[in-house]
Symmetry: C2
Subunit: 425 residues, 2 copies
C-alpha cells in the first residue's frame, strides 16, 4: 500500500514551517501591542451551529465536512473562525466588552483544489466585539498596516470602502434595491475578471445598460481618501458611509498612519454580513488578497440572538507565506552550533560542551550518527549552521577546542571556558 495524503491537504517540513511560525508570531506580537488576547475554539462543531443561515450561507454549508459521530450526532468541521466565535459570545453573555481577541487555527472546506487553495488551511483572525466605535475599525486597519510592514512587505496597501456608501452609490447609479446583492457579486469579481467581465456579469443579471454604465464609472474610482470622499459627497451627499469613512481616516491619521491605504469604490468583500467599513490588503502587481475584513454589526445578533457589534480582519497565512517564501531563502534549521567529537572517545566531553552552550542560550546540535568529522561538517553546513565546534583529543588535553566558522572557513582554537563568549561575539 502506498501512503499518501488526503487530496487538498499539505505537510509542512521544518524549512517551510519555520517561516510560517515566524509569520504568525510576528502578527501576534502586533496583536498584543493593540490589546488583543488569544482565544481557541474546537475544530468540531455541531452541524446545527455551522448551518445557521446567517453564518456562512448555503454555499459554505455544501463545502462543510460533516458526519455522524459514533453516537449518531451530526458533527461538522468548522469552515471559519467567525461562526465559532459568535457561538462563544452567545454562550458567554457576561463577557466584559469590548472583547478583543485573536485566533489562529485550521479550518476545513471541501472546495476545488488549486495552487494556493487547499481543503485544510490556517486562518488568523482578529476581531473587536461589543463596540460601535470606529476607533475599532481603525485599529483593525492599523494592525494590518503594522503587520505587513513588520513582515517585510513593501508595495502593500489597504483598500478601504464602506457598505453603506456602496449601497448609496448603487441607488445613485440606478440599481434597484432588490438587485443590490446581484450587483455586489458582479463587482466583487473585478480583480478576477476585469471591467469587461463585470459588465458581462451585470448584463447577465439583467441590469440595464445605462445603469451598468453608471456603475462601471463609479467603481473605477480609487485613490487618496480626501479626493475620493469629496467626489462621492457630490454624488450621494449626506450618505452615512461617507461619514464613517471620514471618521476612520481621521482616526488612522491620529494613530500616525499617513499612507498605505486608499479608498477604492470597487471593493465589496464577498460576505453578505458586512454593514459598514470594509478593508482588504493587496500588493502592487499581485492579484491576491492578503488580508480582509470589515464591520459586521448585525451578524452576531442574527446568529446568536445577542446584540454585539463587531469588526475584524482575517490574515491569509497562505498567500503571505507564498510571497515571503519567494523573497527570502528558507532557513534549513535554527541551530547555530554543531558539536563534533573527532572520535567516539570525545563523545562524553562533546555532550558536556553542548550542554554548556545551550545553558548560554545557544541552539546546539551534537553528532547523533557517530559520523566522521568530514560528514559532520557536511551535515552542519547543509543545515545552515554557522559554527562547528571540533572536539579532538589533542585540543582537549590543553582544555581547548577548535571553532570553525562554516561560512568564512576561519578556524580558531579556544579555551572551552571561553567558548560560549567566543561564539556569541
Amino acid at each position: 500500500m502506498t501512503l499518501e495524503r488526503v487530496r487538498g491537504t499539505v505537510d509542512y517540513l521544518p524549512p517551510e514551517m519555520m517561516l510560517r511560525e515566524e509569520i504568525v508570531n510576528t502578527c501576534i506580537k502586533i496583536f498584543n501591542r493593540y490589546g488583543f488576547g488569544p482565544m481557541d475554539t474546537p475544530v468540531l462543531e455541531k452541524w446545527e451551529t455551522l448551518t445557521i443561515k446567517s453564518g456562512g450561507g448555503e454555499e459554505i454549508a455544501k463545502e462543510t465536512y460533516n458526519f455522524k459521530d459514533q453516537s449518531g450526532r451530526r458533527i461538522g468541521l468548522r469552515f471559519d473562525l467567525t461562526v465559532p466565535s459568535a457561538r462563544v459570545l452567545a454562550m458567554n453573555p457576561k463577557m466584559p466588552m469590548p472583547f478583543k481577541r485573536y485566533q489562529y487555527g485550521k479550518v476545513f472546506r471541501y472546495q476545488e483544489v488549486k495552487p494556493g487553495r487547499t481543503r485544510e488551511f490556517y486562518q488568523l483572525d482578529i476581531d473587536i466585539y461589543g463596540t460601535n466605535s470606529l476607533v475599532a475599525d481603525a485599529e483593525c486597519v492599523g494592525v494590518a498596516i503594522e503587520c505587513f510592514k513588520e513582515l517585510g512587505f513593501k508595495d502593500y496597501y489597504v483598500r478601504i470602502n464602506n457598505r453603506k456608501l456602496l449601497q448609496g452609490l448603487l441607488n445613485y447609479a440606478g440599481v434597484r434595491p432588490d438587485r443590490t446583492l446581484d450587483a455586489y457579486r458582479a463587482i466583487d469579481k473585478l480583480d478576477k475578471i476585469g471591467i469587461k467581465g463585470v459588465r458581462k456579469e451585470l448584463e447577465k443579471r439583467g441590469i440595464r445598460k445605462e445603469v451598468i454604465k453608471n456603475l462601471l464609472s463609479i467603481i473605477k474610482v480609487k485613490g487618496k481618501p480626501n479626493e475620493i470622499l469629496k467626489k462621492v459627497s457630490e454624488w450621494v451627499p449626506g450618505n452615512l458611509g461617507i461619514k464613517e469613512l471620514e471618521e476612520l481616516i481621521r482616526y488612522l491619521k491620529a494613530m500616525g498612519f499617513k499612507d498605505k491605504y486608499l479608498i477604492d469604490l470597487s471593493l465589496v468583500r464577498g460576505l453578505e454580513y458586512y454593514t459598514g467599513n470594509i478593508f482588504e490588503v493587496n500588493a502592487e502587481g499581485l492579484n491576491v488578497s492578503f488580508a480582509g475584513g470589515g464591520r459586521y454589526d448585525e451578524m452576531i445578533k442574527k446568529f446568536a440572538g445577542v446584540e454585539i457589534p463587531a469588526v475584524g480582519i482575517s490574515f491569509g497565512i497562505e498567500p503571505i507565506f507564498q510571497v515571503l517564501v519567494k523573497k527570502k531563502e528558507l532557513k534549513k534549521s535554527r541551530t547555530l552550533v554543531f558539536v563534533a567529537p573527532v572520535s567516539d572517545k570525545q563523545l562524553i566531553k562533546s555532550l558536556n560542551i553542548a550542554s554548556k552552550l545551550r545553558k548560554a542560550g545557544l541552539n546546539v546540535e551534537v553528532d547523533l550518527k557517530n559520523r566522521s568529522l568530514t560528514k559532520n561538517i557536511e551535515y552542519a553546513a547543509k543545515k545552515g549552521m554557522k559554527y562547528i565546534v571540533i572536539v579532538g583529543e589533542r585540543d582537549l588535553k590543553e582544555g581547548k577546542v577548535t571553532i570553525r566558522n562554516l561560512i568564512t572557513g576561519n578556524e580558531k582554537r579556544t579555551n572551552i571556558k571561553r567558548l560560549p563568549n567566543e561564539i556569541r561575539n
Copy 2:
C-alpha cells in the same frame, strides 16, 4: 435553538489561552535549543493510513472519527501525531538524517469524556528519527527535564525503564513469552489500580501465583539509577536493556543532568511499539503523566516499509495546564497601559499618545466605548493593566498627561514626550 459545543470539546478564552500559549512557547524555546525544527501535518488523513495495524492498533481505530467526504473517499481525523509523521517519513525517503522535529497540533479521539479528558485535544511531540544513538534518548529526557524546570514545576521527576530489560525481568519472573503483552498491560495500570489491582489483573489473565509474586516484587523496585542497575544486573546479567539504561544515564550525566530522574521497573508505557528505553514525567503526589515517550525502532518499518529508528517524547499540554492554572493566577490580558480620554474631545490626542506608546514596544489599549474615566479605570483594573494614562484638557494645554499606577494608586503628571520612558522605568 440553543448554541452549544460538541460533547468533549472545549473553548479557551484569553486568560486560559494565554497560559497555554506560554506553556507551548516555553517548550518550543527548549526544543530549538536542542535543534528540533517545527513540522505540520494535516488533521485529515486517509482512513487506510490511520488504520494500519502497526500504527495505533484496533483500540484506537474504534475511537477514530471517520467519514466519507463529498467524493466518497473515507477520511479520518488523526488520533496522534506519530502516525502522520511516519507517513511523512515514508513519503520523503531522502530526508537528511537525523531528523529532529517538533509538532504541535490537535488530535481527535471519540473516547469517554472525564475531567481532563476530552475528544479534541492538543499534542506537543518531539521525535528524533534515523539514529540508534542513545544520545538521542538522552536528549529527549534532557529536553523534558529542562521544559518542566522552565515551566516552574518543582517536584517533578522522570521515571525511566527499558523494554528489553522488562522483557528479561518477565522471563526471570517466569512469565511465558506469549504472555508478555498481558503482563505489560496489567503492570501498566499500577498507578491507577495499585499493587493489589495489578495482582488481580494478573490472576484474571491466568498467570500463576508464584510468577505473580515474583513479578510484584520486581515492579516495586525504583530509585537511584546506579543502585537499581546493580540490582537488576544480579537478576538478569548481560541483559541488553541494562546496557542501554547505563548508556542513557551516562549521557544524561555528561549533559549536566544530575537528578530529576530515576529508574522505575514498573514503568511500561502502554503502546506496543516501544523497543528500548522508555520514560515518563510525573510529579510528587499527582497521579498524572505529564509527558511520556521512548524508543520505537521497529514501528516506522512496520508502518511505512522504511527502516528508521526513532525516539520521542510527547508533552501533555492539558495536565501541564491543569497544574499551572492552580499555581499562578491567570492573567486577564497582556495589556500594560490603558489610555483614557477624559472626554470625547481628547480622543484624537489619546489615539496619538497610544500610538507613541505602541511604537515604544508597549501593549496599549484605548477607550473604545466612550466611557467615563471611572468606568475606564474599572475596566483597566479588571483586565489587570498596570497603568492608566489620563488625557485631560487642562493637562494637554501644558503638553502633559497624568499616569496613574493602578496597583499602588500613585499618580504623576508627566510631559507627553517623556511618557514612554516614564512607563518603562
